[in-house]
Symmetry: C2
Subunit: 136 residues, 2 copies
DNA sequence: CTTGAAGTTCCAGTAACTGGAGCCATTTAG
DNA sequence: CTAAATGGCTCCAGTTACTGGAACTTCAAG
């Protein structure tokens, strides 16, 4: 399929898709006319990238995540370790999103009438899922 | 407090904190010696920015999120609408993270022995929280 | 065969940092 | 008190991850 269809399936702009090719995240075939020709697998990859990038993973991290699925040469226990590592990162993000959501929900409720919020909420906000102090 | 302490409390590098000042996300006081002087409130803001940026919200979105708490001039129902809007965005992100986590967990389990994954999982991966086809 | 949408490359610009040079202030060791 | 280390300051250049625009080709419809 052409880049346009790949774009609408993956929810990524064509520009970004071409950029991902430039930095070797994908390598679509070329048709005789010179147009890029995306397979279903390519679209899977792109869709994955779209999701992961939107969740705050860097390109480097995306590359790692992709390699978890596709690098058949890597030893199995490495894959597992990396997967578990990413899972705890994801758990952390989920926790942070939940706390952010809680903060916003409380705010929304408190804004129910027409009174302005004076917000003890901002305390909660800044606390978040903070570590107990004392560095890494 | 100085920028160093603000940095370690907010988990942001000093460079980034100065940059946030440049783009007017914070406005710390200055001590007599010219050093930036951060209040607890400033640190709250920074901590919030650190969390929100890490979760994939843009600077523009962070500005909006911050305004939800602090813009006392905005009408209350606007605040509520924006908060609800951001909440659904957050829910979407949480769903995506859960699906990503599920994918990785399955992978980790399947990689338990020393057999390489041949991955029907990649299907699941690319499906994610996709819309039912037919575009906006 | 023309018109328009969609593709191509290339180059420049933007967003959000990040690193480094060069200089002043503060703390700490001798 | 002086010297060195540490941390702050500004400014400017570089990086990452796109994004927009110009100039050209290709394809599908009328």
């Amino acid at each position: 399929m052409n880049i346009g269809q790949a774009a609408s399936l993956s929810q990524l702009p064509p520009k970004t898709i071409r950029y991902y090719e430039e930095i070797e995240l994908i390598n679509p075939a070329r048709a005789e006319n010179g147009y890029r020709d995306y397979s279903d697998g390519d679209v899977h990859r792109l869709r994955f990238l779209q999701r992961a990038r939107g969740l705050g993973f860097s390109i480097t991290e995306c590359r790692l995540l992709l390699s978890l699925y596709e690098d058949k040469d890597r030893a199995s226990h490495d894959v597992k370790a990396m997967a578990l590592d990413k899972i705890s990162e994801i758990d952390r993000k989920i926790n942070e999103l939940n706390s952010l959501k809680h903060t916003l929900s409380t705010l929304a409720e408190h804004c129910n009438g027409d009174n302005k919020p004076d917000c003890p909420i901002i305390e909660d906000l800044a606390r978040g899922s903070q570590e107990p102090r004392g560095g890494p």
